[in-house]
């Protein structure tokens, strides 16, 4: 799949999201841009709190006040969707964009059985009757690996384990065969074998139906295996983007390099894990210049004055002194 050739299915341009707080607006996303081609999986990784979920929430149009899109645009298949009226957006969601949220409980109704929820979603978006919808629901539950699906379909969410609830949420997102899937940590609550099953399913959707997927996850192993390209986020910015094996093997941004070094190895046991010291700044205390500079080993005075931009290359890093060049003495 050549991502640069096909016109993008999803195009996010210069997206800024602010929260209007008591002490003035806080910028949570500060000019985020990326594309996803049909049939492509874009992995999104980055510091906890960097804005990954917010980006996904904005694309599906579920940003809650006090959060709002301050500038920028989002296009789906060439159609601008960030300024659609709520009703039109609601139609789009579920039908053309499927969402798997980080929080499985908010997506499931506690008083409806799993089957009732699936059937309702299917009949809302597809022209099928109840019986056919139930067949499809059962089929989906099997595809996401729910054992004894025939019995489980009539149970309530609280009778499911954490990982099984997560799989129901995935089934819900796939119901209407959307062309774009926003998957926020879809596999974190899952064991490795179910995880392999889900990522295989997602890859198959991409290949066979040209579905585009934005896959937010902290699991680099999952990213390495499933994503075509990966975007790395830090403090409301995309700091690096590129083909997945290049970013993992030869990270250009010092933050990405630190992230890669923190992955615990399965092959050996270390006394101490590598960590990037310090913490990501709060939204009200983002330092001027490069937001990573207080934690960066390569920082120069220049980094504190000028914010680095993200060049328009296929593998790009927003850094004045990327790791492709030797550090200044």
């Amino acid at each position: 799949m050549n991502a640069t050739m096909a016109p993008p299915l999803l195009s996010v341009r210069d997206l800024r999201i602010v929260f209007d707080g008591r002490h003035g607006p806080l910028t949570a996303l500060d000019g985020v841009s990326f594309d996803i081609a049909p049939g492509e999986i874009l992995g999104v990784v980055g510091e906890s709190g960097a804005g990954k979920s917010l980006t996904g929430t904005a694309v599906i149009g579920l940003l809650d006040p006090p959060g709002r899109i301050a500038s920028g645009s989002i296009h789906l298949n060439g159609q601008r969707i960030d300024n659609l009226p709520a009703e039109a957006m609601c139609k789009l969601r579920g039908r053309r964009i499927g969402a798997i949220f980080q929080d499985p409980l908010t997506s499931l109704h506690p008083l409806l059985t799993v089957g009732e929820q699936l059937v309702e979603t299917i009949t809302t978006h597809l022209p099928v009757g109840k019986a056919e919808a139930r067949d499809r629901a059962l089929q989906l539950l099997k595809e996401v690996g729910i054992p004894a699906a025939e019995t489980r379909i009539d149970q309530y969410p609280h009778q499911f384990s954490g990982g099984m609830r997560q799989r129901v949420v995935i089934a819900l997102a796939l119901c209407a065969e959307p062309s774009l899937i926003i998957a926020d940590e879809p596999t974190t609550a899952l064991d490795v074998s179910i995880q392999a099953q889900i990522t295989t399913l997602l890859k198959r959707l991409c290949r066979e139906h040209g579905t585009a997927i934005m896959l937010v996850t902290h699991d680099m192993g999952v990213i390495a295996e499933t994503a075509d390209r990966v975007a790395v986020m830090y403090a409301g910015n995309v700091v690096e983007i590129g083909p997945v094996d290049e970013v993992i093997r030869r990270p250009h941004h010092p933050y990405t390099a630190g992230l890669m070094a923190s992955i615990p190895s399965i092959h050996t046991r270390h006394q101490h894990l590598h960590q990037i010291d310090g913490a990501m700044p709060r939204l009200n205390a983002i330092p001027p210049g490069c937001a990573f500079n207080p934690r960066c080993g390569r920082a120069e005075p220049f980094c504190r004055d000028v914010k680095p931009g993200l060049p328009g290359k296929s593998h790009a890093a927003a850094c004045h002194f990327p790791l492709t060049e030797p550090a200044h003495a």
């Binding site: 179910i194 390495a224 615990p264 913490a279």
Partner: protein, 323 residues
């Protein structure tokens, strides 16, 4: 560092849920009761100051076992016993037990400010003499988990998934517990924050002799943290013993498959073997060895006779063919 001594003994504990349809439906349809065996006859001991980890497929009963350990779920059979301990402050008594929940969303009260969420156990247990000391402690805890003091003023909904998970961790640490049950404590964290939290947990263990019961699907994290390890399948332990021994030489076929399925950044294109066969249901577990429908080396005897845990090569294994 205290002398190694047992802090928790679990003896033949089981937990079953009645998931039958309502009585009338059952009567009309001539259906029997349906009993879900979430945890079946599990025994183990945890030594003070060590980490005991439990891994296994989704739905195999890990959280149910964890909930029994913290007393949120009664065992239907068997018993759990905490041994009295000498604490650093000179007191003697049962250990203080606290849980970090799998789901950071459900476990934080949305109407409470984060500061109050963390301060509650400190006030409840009178761990600090006055309000000034309480808020000092809350601020310190927020910083320990990589958040900032000012975050105490905000409500949980204003935090990202990983930030909320860190709030639950700060709250658990606030109790100054002796025994922490950690159910997927870092699943929502990026690897660099995860490294900070795990390093912190290891440091606390070294300094204060904390004991952890650790549950995670991330086997690299498990390998990094664990002293003892148990592999669970359909409610039962199928292999348990020293973690390094098991990682280096897994003996149960299920453990081997589990280790083969790990996604690996270092070898992304390696052929992962997704486990074949359907995940069995704990409502109607297969007869004999519950793993036999998916086991690559099963023999006819496996579907007839259930293997029991037996000592082998420095650990316990429940498999007819392990020896």
């Amino acid at each position: 560092m205290p002398e190694p001594s047992p802090i928790l003994t679990v003896s033949a504990a089981s937990c079953r849920f009645d998931v039958s349809p309502p009585a009338l439906t059952r009567l009309l349809a001539h259906e029997p009761r349906r009993i879900l065996r979430a945890v079946e006859n599990i025994s183990f001991t945890v030594e003070r100051g060590t980490t005991f980890s439990i891994v296994g497929e989704s739905g195999c009963g890990k959280s149910t076992l964890a909930r029994m350990v913290v007393g949120l779920q009664r065992p239907t059979e068997g018993a759990l016993h905490f041994h009295d301990i000498h604490r650093a402050d000179g007191s003697f008594g049962p250990p203080r037990v606290q849980m970090i929940f799998q789901d950071p969303y459900a476990s934080l009260n949305p109407r409470w400010r984060v500061g109050d969420v963390i301060a509650e156990p400190i006030r409840e247990l009178r761990l600090r003499p006055d309000e000034a000391a309480v808020s000092q402690r809350v601020g310190d805890l927020l910083e320990i988990v990589g958040l900032s003091r000012g975050d105490a003023e905000r409500y949980p909904h204003a935090f990202s998934g990983g930030q909320r998970q860190r709030i639950s961790i700060a709250r658990a640490l606030a109790t100054e517990a002796d025994f922490l049950v950690c159910d997927e404590p870092t699943s929502a964290l990026d690897v660099s924050v995860q490294a900070q939290i795990l390093n912190l947990m290891v440091r606390l263990q070294k300094e204060f002799g904390l004991t952890y019961l650790f549950i995670s699907h991330n086997l690299s994290v498990v390998r990094h943290m664990s002293d003892q390890l148990a592999i669970m399948y359909l409610g039962r332990f199928v292999e348990s013993g020293p973690a390094e021994t098991i990682f280096q030489r897994p003996r149960h076929p299920y453990t081997r498959l589990l280790l083969d399925t790990i996604p690996d950044v270092e070898q992304p294109n390696r052929q992962r073997k997704p486990m074949s066969g359907e995940v069995p249901s704990p409502i109607a577990p297969p007869p004999g060895c519950a793993f036999h429908p998916r086991c690559p080396i099963a023999v006819p005897n496996c579907s007839a006779v259930a293997p029991v845990l037996e000592a082998l090569d420095e650990r316990l294994v429940a498999c007819h063919r392990a020896a």
